[in-house]
Symmetry: C2
Subunit: 326 residues, 2 copies
């Protein structure tokens, strides 16, 4: 485990353990099938990044009640619901090194338990009686669904532009993390300035995390990553390292890259050749550069808050986006 991660974890240990408890307790009253399937995806080594961010942002704005952990499960449920449907849509067989829910159970179970988690998020959100919070949850849901559909429509499309890629990760990833941070401000009754600062922090962090995630497909081995080698490509997903390298490549190399990408049964050798091209044409470098830029923007966004232990953790989490190995 890298040092930054160790440091963050040591500081949020108690929060994380309370979030775990809230996640388990909220699932307990439900049927076995929901509990088992939802637990499979919820308790398989997820980072709890989204609930944690909500809790930390609430604290940064002075929240001191005891409802934050309970409410934070909304953001893990929304995340897990998307993963359940997403893995099915992608035909992914592994997530975090474990077989995906639709391969352990079946498509039906993955669909319905995803629906259930979405419905639960909504119910918990509605219980707050806070219209602004409810609107955020509804926007997240609509954006995530639009992002998924855009991604599906562009699956295998070798002409995917950087703008289209950005639009997809904005909808699918950034809006959720942004919402979690913004809701943190809202439960603390923070002012508009704090709310929009944390909203910007979350948005930029969400983009950076996804770019870093997309990089890992080309810079990490599958054992560390817990998915199959070249999983994104096999699922027909073009991400920034590939998009920007394809744009920069000369015609002959681009043809070679496209051949590898189009052939879903590419060999490990083919994949290594592709990664070499991503190095040559700067796709990996460019993606790292962009992710770094978003991390900087995330950190800059919270400069309005005075220094505190909580602020430091948020800054560390932003830096962690760039340093993680899986």
């Amino acid at each position: 485990m890298n040092k930054l991660k160790q440091k963050i974890l040591a500081e949020v240990e108690e929060d994380l353990s309370e979030i775990e408890t809230a996640l388990r307790e909220n699932l307990n009253p439900h049927f076995d099938l929901v509990r088992e399937t939802a637990s499979h995806i919820l308790f398989s080594g997820g980072k709890r990044l989204r609930p944690l961010l909500m809790v930390l942002c609430g604290r940064l704005c002075g929240y001191s009640g005891d409802y934050d952990k309970i409410f934070s499960v909304v953001f893990e449920y929304l995340h897990a619901a998307t993963l359940l449907h997403d893995d099915l849509v992608d035909g992914a067989s592994l997530r975090r090194g474990k077989p995906t829910a639709h391969s352990v159970w079946d498509n039906s179970t993955a669909v319905l338990v995803g629906d259930f988690l979405l419905a639960r998020s909504l119910s918990i959100g509605t219980e707050t009686g806070n219209l602004k919070i409810i609107r955020i949850i509804s926007e997240i849901t609509e954006n995530m669904s639009q992002g998924e559909i855009r991604q599906l429509m562009r699956k295998g499309n070798l002409k995917l532009s950087e703008a289209e890629y950005m639009d997809i990760i904005r909808c699918k990833n950034a809006v959720l993390i942004q919402g979690a941070c913004r809701v943190g401000a809202l439960i603390a009754d923070a002012g508009e300035e704090e709310e929009s600062a944390l909203s910007a922090y979350g948005f930029n962090l969400g983009i950076a995390f996804q770019m870093a995630d997309d990089l890992l497909d080309y810079t990490s081995d599958s054992g560390t990553l817990g998915k199959n080698v070249g999983a994104d490509l096999k699922e027909g997903k073009l991400t920034l390292p590939v998009i920007s390298s394809l744009e920069a490549a000369d015609p002959i190399d681009r043809d070679e890259m496209e051949e590898i990408i189009k052939n879903k049964d590419f060999s490990l050798r083919d994949f290594e050749r592709l990664v070499e091209m991503l190095e040559i044409y700067g796709g990996i470098r460019y993606t790292k550069h962009q992710a770094t830029r978003y991390v900087e923007q995330a950190k800059e966004a919270i400069s309005i808050f005075k220094n505190s232990k909580t602020k430091q953790i948020l800054l560390n989490i932003a830096d962690f986006a760039l340093s993680r190995k899986h």
Copy 2:
């Protein structure tokens, strides 16, 4: 078309056409894939029962604004979202005589477009800024998802009890129609007495409609029904006509019925034999009797309203539940 249906349709013609317009206009700004897939399920001969009920219940309580049709799409979207996921879960190949969405497109599309329609419902609901309405939508969503999961868990279970069956159709069907009627009262700012009367009307009507629907599987030919012969049984769904006949049957006949049910490839002859048993052991009669009872309760519930054209339509719709052929 039966006379009652003709009569109802003549009286709600304008409402239905405005609901159609609202449904189309709401879909127009969205991507082709959503529009096509959603249109496939939305514009394939659905009755628009749910939005229509919302509009009529609003009018009964004195609503005279112009937001009702736009808002009523929520209930058709929620319905369509469930159908998309439901057909996938059931592996159903036909709905209303047309191939189901997941067979025309694929599982991924059906899942994501269902998610999208659910998210849209939520957004439209949230736009009202009315917490009571938002809570109802959230309850509907949670109930429908729980009903689906319960049904999935009990799929093929020959020991399904009448109480379990009632619980499933309550969650999956009645709560949505109940919610549509109740929201009609709410948009009209009706008093609590009206709200709970229409809530009871909708609940009882929803149960009656589903029982009538379940009966059609055993009393209608597949041409009229637009599904395959014995579709419910082939999908492992035990409904009231079968449940109550199994309970009443003597051991030998019960064994024979169970053999037919367990063999998903039953012949037309087997199916006819089963229907004969449902006649002998009173399952069809009992279901008709129960559906009639719920229709009477629905009508009784709105006795607090003074007579009007709108009330008469609601009474006719309740009677129609029992008389429809598909």
